[in-house]
Every structure is written in C-alpha cells, then in structure tokens.
C-alpha cells in the first residue's frame, strides 16, 4: 500500500520589482525550493489586500508568505511600509482568532537575493509542514 504524504501548499505573493526577480534568480542559479510554493506576482507588496491572504487560505493554502523589496527600496517608494503595518495587524488578528501564527509571514527579498529566496521558502515550507494541514481557516466547499 502506498501512503500519500501530503505536502503543504504555500502561496507566495511576490512583488514584481524585487522578490519576483529574486525567485527568477533562484531558478537560474538552479537553487532548490519546494515545488508546492505557488508564486503570485503582484506589482508591489502593498497590492496585497487582506482578502487575498484569506482567499488563499480558503482555496487550500496551508501557508501564505508575502515578499517585497527591502524597506526603503520599494519601486513606489513607500508601498512596503504600508504592507508592513497592514500585515502586522492582519497577522496579529489571525493569531487572535486562534489561527496558527506560523502560517503567515512577510519577508523582504531583493532581486539579487536568489539564495535568500530559496532559503526562505525552504524554511517556511518546513515550518508550515510541521503544523500540518490548515484546518482552522479552511473552506470545506473548496476541498476536493
């Protein structure tokens, strides 16, 4: 009998100008990171509306990570500063509602940090895998 090991599904929102290019660099440098990290490209990290994060969980994500330019380096000058405040409040609220805090993260990754991108994803995937499937913020109607 074969036992199916469930791998965690991770949604990574990556800003076009830094982190997405960082992911690209990780790829062209042949660095490994889990295939279950699904990247969604956004124009800037502050494009990520709190609903996007919740929707990702609804549609089956076990962890959500938002990657943007380092503070001070945002292509639009200040987008990531707003991201920082917003996501702090959102993640804190999720924690308050009893949803495991380790399922969410914000990380700053520049276009030159391919290695950091791969390392972050590996580490985050491991952390989420340890928590198991997302049960507390799941939508049964979206489960196959």
């Amino acid at each position: 009998m074969q036992i199916k090991v469930r791998k965690p599904l991770i949604v990574a929102f990556c800003c076009n100008w830094c982190s997405y290019a960082g992911a690209d660099l990780a790829g062209s440098n042949r660095l490994n990171y889990p295939a279950d990290v699904k990247i969604i490209r956004v124009p800037c990290s502050c494009r990520v509306n709190p609903t996007f994060v919740l929707r990702a969980f609804q549609r089956g994500a076990d962890g959500v990570i938002i990657c943007g330019c380092h503070p001070g380096d945002c292509h639009y000058t200040s987008g990531n500063y707003y991201t920082r405040r917003r996501m702090t409040l959102l993640f804190s609220m999720l924690d308050y509602l009893g949803i495991e805090r380790e399922r969410t993260r914000v990380e700053w990754v520049s276009a030159a940090e391919g290695a950091k991108f791969a390392a972050t994803m590996n580490e985050f995937a491991e952390q989420v895998a340890a928590l198991g499937e997302n049960r507390r913020l799941e939508d049964l109607r979206c489960k196959k």
Binding site: T51, T88, S92, R101
Partner: protein, 332 residues
C-alpha cells in the same frame, strides 16, 4: 435615569425650528416597546411632543444618519449627539462624508445607556417598565412582578468602559459637561487581554463559538459610522461572501476579519456594532484588538478626536517593526 429630560431638548429644538435655524430634527422616537427606541426625523414641534424620547435606551448614534439625511434638503438638520457619538461625527467629517454647515449639533450629556439584552438576561421576558432607585433598577415584568438589579449590570460594554464624557464636536451644549474619565476607559482592553492570555486553541474555540452564531444580517456593518462605502463587497453576489452559508466557518471569519479590518484606524470604538448585533456577538473584542495593536505599536490614536487627523493605517514610519517582531513584542 438621564439628568436631562426630553422636555428640555424639545423646548430648545422648538426654538431652533421656529427661528428657521434648522428645518428638521434627527432624534429618538419610541418604538414598539419602550426600550425599542428608533432614530427618526421630526419636522415640527408637535411631532416631537408626540413621539420624541430621551431616556436610558437612546443608545443609537446618529452620526452616520447624517450622511444621507443632510443631503436630502438644503436647510440645516439639528442632531442630538452624546459625547461618544461626537467622535463618529468628527471621523465622518474627516472623511468628507457630509458638510458640517448643513448640520447643527446639540451635545447632550449621557449618564450611560442601558442594554435591554443584559436586563432580559437577568429578569427574563416581558419587561414593561423600568424605574431607577439609586444604584439599582426596579424592572417591572409582566409575569414575575418587580425585580431588582444593579444598574451597573445593565450597562452595555461601551458605557461600562466609556471613553470619556466630553463632547469633541458641538454647536451648543445642553446640560453639564463632564470631565473626561480616563480611569474608566482604561478597562477597555481587559477583554482583549484576557483573550490574548489564552492559548491559540482556546481562542480558536472561543471565536468559533461566537462567530458561528452570526446570521449575517449585516446590521453591524450597516450601523457602523466608519463603514459608509456606497457599494460594499459583502453585497456583491459574485464575491461569494454576500450571504450566510450556515455550514461554513470560513465565511464567518472572512466577514468578521474584513469588517473589522476595514475600519481599523477609523473605528472610534463607539460600540454600535455590538449594540445592534441580534446574536450578541462581542464585536467590540475585534475592533478593540485592532485599536490596542495600533496604540501599542504605532502610538496612541483615538479616531475622531479631532477633525482631519491622519489614521495610523494610512501612515508609516521607517522604524516600524516587521510583522513577526511586532507580534512577538506585543506578547512580552
């Protein structure tokens, strides 16, 4: 009991109506039961004498009604605001939701309102009258005669932890203006702290229990003075969240997180959402969580204290902490 009586308010409104200063009055009208006070627009003194009330059940905050009401006619509309209501009034002005020149605010003092839900919890159904005696209430009931309870136990949460009884906006004041009461307001975050002290699992079950009772009547959204968008995502049939799906705990959480998040930094903690919830869901615990996080991380901020102040959510500082550090710091 309120120290200011209905007659004092009607007399002053009648003068202003007669002088042409205002052409209508936004006030409280008694509803089907004496405790079902509803907001209403009065056009004449006679109309006010007939139906206007001012008593312990006038919790309703009129600020939001001004958005639509003040646009209906050219004249000024008189509005009675309690101290806590004036914060919402300022917040709406900050957001340019109506023109202050079209309103005339009479600040009325407030001795704390009563929550009929809390009273019924103690005495049961069939409440036909309430009298005050010192710190106690004598509740007359249809089935069990008179019952006594402490007034304090009948106060809604927002009055128990009143932000302060000083009006922050008014054209004139009636009655005596009280000083701010910080001591009282400091209890505001007790409920939040209690929850924060629980384990993640306990919190999860607490909220599961609370939020699963939500019937998605949208009353909390409709009443909120910070929530005045003309189109709402929760009314969009394509959003997948416009309705209640009884079996789905995700949708409940999404609605509540987004409702509270949407007003984060603009919520004045007026307590209207918890007041109107027919399911008695402690919505203030969500709003106050955001307020306490904002205060703790980005500096004390009270929405609506002054007109034009900038909410911390549309602001930033280079020194802000990353989410993981910030949440860790809060815990210490």
């Amino acid at each position: 009991m309120q120290k200011v009586t209905r007659d004092i308010l009607i007399d002053r409104a009648a003068e202003l109506l007669a002088s042409g200063m205002v052409n209508r009055v936004l006030g409280w009208r008694s509803g089907e039961f004496f405790y079902d006070v509803v907001p209403a627009v009065f056009r004449s003194e006679a109309d006010m004498r007939d139906g206007f009330v001012f008593d312990d059940f006038c919790g309703c905050n009129f600020s939001k009604y001004l958005v639509k009401e003040s646009a209906r006619s050219d004249g000024r509309i008189l509005v009675f605001l309690k101290p806590c209501d004036t914060y919402s009034y300022n917040q709406l002005l900050t957001e340019h939701r109506f023109d202050a020149e079209k309103t005339y605010v009479i600040g009325v003092p407030c001795d704390g309102m009563l929550d009929i839900g809390r009273i019924k919890e103690r005495v049961g159904e069939g409440v036909i009258g309430i009298e005050a005696e010192g710190d106690e209430l004598i509740v007359k009931t249809l089935y069990d005669g008179d019952k006594r309870m402490k007034r304090e136990d009948a106060l809604p949460d927002r009055c128990r932890h009143c932000k302060g009884k000083k009006h922050v906006a008014f054209d004139e004041l009636i009655g005596e203006e009280c000083e701010e009461n910080d001591e009282n307001a400091s209890g505001r975050f007790e409920g939040v702290a209690e929850l924060e002290a629980m384990t993640s699992e306990q919190r999860y079950f607490f909220w599961q229990n609370e939020l699963s009772r939500c019937i998605r009547c949208n009353a909390c959204r409709d009443v909120c003075p910070a929530c005045t968008c003309e189109k709402c995502v929760f009314d969009n049939p394509k959003s997948g969240v416009e309705n209640k799906a009884a079996s789905d705990s995700f949708e409940e959480k999404l609605f509540h997180i987004i409702r509270a998040f949407h007003v984060a930094g603009r919520c004045t903690d007026c307590g209207e959402c918890s007041r109107v919830c027919p399911q008695h869901i402690p919505l203030h615990l969500l709003n106050r969580k955001f307020i306490s996080d904002i205060n703790g991380l980005y500096g004390e901020y009270q929405a609506g204290e002054t007109v034009g102040s900038r909410s911390p959510m549309v602001d930033y500082s280079r020194a802000d902490l990353d989410p993981s550090e910030a949440i860790g710091k809060r815990e210490e």
